[in-house]
Amino acid sequence: MDLDLYLNSYVYVIIFLLLGIALPVGGLTFGRLVRPHNPYPEKLVPYESGILPTGDAQIRFSVAYYIVALEFVIFDVETVFIYPWAVALDHLGWFGINAMLIFIVVLALGLAYSWKKKVLEWN
């Protein structure tokens, strides 16, 4: 792939990014011209099904969320290795298969471990 095409592709990406930001910003700015604006305290209270909220809303949540996040990080990053491998599999042949088999077995063992440790249960 020649450099021009390579760069052009990223110009597209940037244009899309800018447009993606411009639309909400533009929309909201335009909306300001047409929408009413008269806040009063009751309106600005967080909605909790009509009951006045008590305590801080930014509560601590179950540790299960953290664990899922950790699991995600591990597995998501592992895919970093699988993608280049997948692309290059033609060149790698059986060597590549073996290497990746080892990798996946280890990954699967990790999964089995968290399974057994009830990390994947949600309660």
Binding site: H91, F95, V105, V106, L109, A112, Y113, K116, K117
Partner: protein, 484 residues
Amino acid sequence: MTAFNADWSLMTPEIVLAILALTVFTIDFTTGIRGKKPFIGILSVLSLLITIILVVIFNQTPGSIGATFVVDPYAMLFKIVILIGVALVIINSMSYMEKHHEMYQGELYSLLLFAALGAMLMVSSADLITLFIGLEILSISSYCLAGFRKSQAKSSEAALKYVVLGGTASAFILYGMSFMYGLTGTTNLGEIGAGIQQLYGQYPYLVIMSLLFMIAGFGFKISIVPFHMWAPDVYEGAPTPITGFLATVSKVAGFAIMIRILAVGFGGIYHEWYFVIAVIAALTMIVGNTVALVQKNVKRLMAYSGIAQAGYLLVPLAASLSFNITMSMIVYYAFAYIFMTLGAFAIITHVTENAESEDISSFAGLQKRSPFLAHSMTVFLLSMTGLPITAGFVGKVYIFLGVMSSEMVWLAVVLIVTSTISFFYYFGIIRQMYMMDPKEDSSMLKAPTSISLIVTISLIGTFGLAFFANMLTNYMNGLMWIIL
């Protein structure tokens, strides 16, 4: 690609250890996480023994896999040291686990096995990437191990400090490496070493900066001054057998690879950096030995002692000796260090657990409570002090002899004077054991089989290395230490 047609049999020990480690890990989690499982420990020790045998068999003839993974005597000897160390740590953990049911036993063992694997990879690597992977396998396992007593705030705190500082250290190492890569276009140590002199001519500041970053990073890992501040805290907080692990295996492996980088990668510009190492070694010895004097907690004391020992190990590197002599010294001392330190840690584990206190006074009157442990501890402490007739003595004299024949006599003086200072704190423990009365409520202390086993092995190692040092030194004389 060279990896396809490489001689993978060179890697047999690593591969087998990996398989065994995974097997241990699988057996562990499939048989239920909690509960006492001494057989997992035995299995782990067996795995390590098998690996040691394989190392001896398969690493005899040097070779390399794609110039990233090398098998040479240097790697082989360090692998043996590491594997022995981990095996001793596991045996030690087995008795520790008896008392701490809240810890997941099998996980500890498998983490230790993975750490051993990482360390093995690391000492065999001749490529920055492989090296980094090995280092991180070891480090990340160590972080987990340090925080293994989850319910203990101290343990968690230790682990967190370790993670943060260890991560920072990794970043330093990597930052240094990234410049080496950028300037040479390769991550292979041999190729870097081949071009380093020319490179230094072109970009002196960048090369030195890169080197300093790496020294700082590895300095963290092996806790040399001024990068040692984490060690006492982490050592204190970590479970005691793990403290032993951190003080020995982790440190020795870090050393091995730091030396390989310095010797192979930066050997060409030796005269530019040896003085830095000398100063660091001197500082390490001075700070380690003097701060140890005021420690009341045994594990902190051992941390500072370990810092000082790291200083001794750095000395041969700083003294401009022939490569073979330097290597022999370091390997000999590494062997001595692993035995004496792990033997001491086995006893420390048992005594502090029994006393439920890590204060030095928990050793009071140990001679009356358990003569065997007290005498053995004395031997290990004497060895660490460098008194006869122990491996530590021979090792220290050996290093001293070497450094005396270099230009840096002042370093020798620092070595010897700080060793003398170390008499105070090592003999402080001896004083507790022999000259203090046991606490009133204490009874006879019976050493469990596992502790006795480690102590016996360590005693054999400590004495054997002294009396039969010739076997090791003869083997090491004239070795082709590093192939590339």
